[in-house]
Symmetry: C2
């Protein structure tokens, strides 16, 4: 039931039917072709959800005016209250979002001379600071283009060099206003509050209602079991929009609901708690990373890693959060037997007798991480990530893990199907859950 | 010109105007809300490009039938030759893609009894192998649902449990056929060749023309400079669709063009080579990772890392490719001074005199990686990833790097703006380019 792995059970009620609705258009051939993963669409969807605004469509379009225009017309026809575009506001003549949005809203563009001056000031400051070698006339042409805005549109001040816009539909026509935001995520995110404050946007989203979202995370449960559990409460949780998905071995249940459906959500939560008393490890949105960090910090313990097949991914993940240096002393990536011995004190005899990929070596790696990095807690991982290197005895995907604290030692052996990347990623997830189990009070 | 960072210059010719066109619909609330990053849309866009089929829109919809139906109607109205959907084929009653596509194409669904039997056989085999604890009647309901297919649709055999479909528009109506594919990327990718082989799909895409794509990668160039270079060839490369984007400090120029425009592409390539003789490091699609690996392997050299602020990310990246163990011996993540000293031999006095974040320590880290892991090449990274830990003297974002081989040593100091993650990621990119510079014959 691998289809179930991605999309298992979906109740699709008409969620918060009175809520305001919005749609998002992401522009850019680099997004359409997958060279750049879009983060703006999901970021905006989440911001809108927090405002109580429901999003039904995200459309990714290339850099052709006709495609953007068609997408805007389509989304307006779905009856949404607001459309938001991202990208296409650069200084070159072919970044045409502002003009296309203007055309779709029935508004011709005109030069905003005061805006032109403000952008020019920004460019001059940037050029001086970054020592750009850019021809003044080329810069002036770009600035002029960025200061061309649809007549009657509200300007959102530039964060970089590009102004954002709120473009209402032309007088006498009906349709949602379009918020035009820059593509670079940092510019977009800094500009967002100004967009929300705009009188046009506030008016468009007046009907919004509170939309709650809760995330439950399970570890060690199969999807078909969860499907059966959810079937058991069907009819009692109809006001909830429940989506489940499997990610790195964790089963994530995300529920969205209006405030009035809180009792239904509590009912669902009870049912999950009863069915999965051990497997439900997070009901407050925390990740396993958050919990491992918190458990370590509660005890004032430090951690160190000794990785083979995961090649540093566990260390990178543990050191990801701000302030990680309080608890993470470091780690060793020991791809070679010599490294395992010299840096982590793994016994030559253990390597000889059991091989590098063995429970025994995983345990000595964990112990070595503790002792050689002087940490309270050590994690050892050794396995065969593939695609080569497997044997009948020790196939690709076989990974041994061990986590050790001053109090106890836990070990786990897994067989991960899939690619080299799958094996590495899953091993890191298992290591984090092993750490959690080791540390949980 | 940070807007330029993401989308600098775009020529938007009507690319290969005679080419077949397709659109993609990605279903799933988990994608719409950003909890799961969609990989199917970009993967399909790339497959289609290789077939000479142009993609203008990717639409992401939630799990509501009305939204999917509206998206299908819109895409059909744009005059595309083919629509492809992904996801929503699960066994539960609310995975409705097949039925909604049927409705949009004017075809009612009916039970395919032979297909039902084939899916049941798959489920029984999976249940036995994975020891699912799943109720037989629940399974049967799911299988029956998955075997409901629009009348007249072509069935693509299941890879997991979900069959794919090719659904032509109803007789007497006009519109493109819709290919319905499962959501899990592995199932979708394995099923894709069968979809392409379908007579309906072949007929729909009969007008496709060869569409070439080339990627140039630059390091050490500013976007405004590139913009000026591209302006210099304007008018001579009009048949090319050029997109540029900045990723991790590399400037990537992707050009798409019909076969007849090959001379124009060669003209562009010459112009870039002349303007950026050193900065253009890849014209054949290879990444800096590929080149570092190849240069190491040419000399038969091994590499080891000594990382502080990047916390294992460089080791993880070097060990990512299959067969990395030939050249990567491992690394040390030394977050603490004690780890730098005990595992890598960094001098107490150096740490005392210059501090952990210093050129001197970066050099000793690189040397330590070489000697303590017995590698030919060593890389050392030390810096302040933030958000805390910065001082006036050593601000957040300051990173010292050093790469050393038996022949020479290269050092670099950078100041990276942005978040903790930005600093870590950029430092890894700089380290890889430093390695490349060290190793290039």
């Amino acid at each position: 039931m691998s289809e179930a792995a991605v999309e298992l059970i979906r109740h699709t009620p008409t969620l918060a039917p009175m809520s305001a609705r919005a749609a998002i258009v992401v522009t850019g051939t680099e997004v359409l072709t997958g060279r750049v993963a879009d983060s703006n669409g999901p970021w905006l969807a989440e911001q809108l959800r927090q405002l109580g605004v429901d999003v039904g469509h995200i459309v990714v379009v290339g850099d052709r005016p006709s495609e953007l225009h068609a997408a805007l017309d389509f989304l307006a026809s779905t009856g949404v209250d607001l459309i938001i575009t991202t990208g296409g506001l650069g200084p070159t003549a072919d970044d045409l979002t502002a003009q296309v949005v203007g055309a779709a809203q029935g508004r011709a563009s005109e030069l905003d001379v005061a805006l032109q001056q403000r952008i020019m000031t920004i460019i001059e400051r940037l050029s001086a600071r970054l020592r750009w070698n850019i021809e003044p006339t080329a810069a002036a042409a770009g600035v002029r283009k960025q200061a061309l805005v649809p007549k009657g549109a509200e300007v959102l001040e530039p964060v970089g060099t590009a102004p954002g816009l709120v473009v209402p539909v032309a007088d006498g026509r009906s349709g949602p206003p379009v918020v035009v935001l820059p593509g670079p995520p940092r510019e977009l995110q800094v500009m967002w509050p100004a967009a929300v404050e705009s009188a046009l946007v506030r008016h468009a989203l007046a009907d919004r209602t509170e939309l709650r979202q809760s995330t439950l995370r399970l570890w060690g449960t199969q999807e078909p079991e969860l499907a059966a559990t959810l079937r058991g409460v069907e009819g009692e949780v109809d006001e909830l929009e429940i989506t489940t998905c499997l990610r790195g071995g964790e089963l994530e249940i995300v529920t969205r609901y209006g405030a009035a459906a809180e009792p239904s959500y509590q009912h669902l939560l009870r049912a999950i708690r009863i069915a999965y008393p051990k497997q439900l490890f997070s009901a407050d949105g925390s990740t396993v990373d958050d919990q491992v960090a918190a458990f370590l910090d509660e005890r004032g313990w430090t951690v160190a890693t000794a990785e083979s097949c995961t090649g540093g991914l566990l260390a990178a993940r543990l050191t990801g959060p701000a302030g990680a240096s309080v608890r993470v002393l470091g780690g060793v990536v020991a791809y070679s037997d010599a490294g395992k011995t010299s840096l982590l004190g793994v016994d030559h005899d253990t390597l000889g007798a059991f091989g590098a990929v063995s429970e025994q070596v995983a345990e000595e790696l964990a112990a070595g991480a503790r002792h050689h990095l002087n940490a309270d807690v050590g994690v050892g991982i050794t396995g065969i990530a593939g695609p080569g290197g497997g044997t009948g005895d020790k196939p690709v995907g076989l990974v041994h893990l061990c986590a050790a604290s001053p109090e106890r030692t836990l070990a786990r052996t897994i067989r991960v199907p899939g690619s080299r990347n799958d094996v590495r990623e899953r091993s890191v997830a298992v290591a984090l859950h092993l750490l959690r189990e080791l540390l949980i009070p």
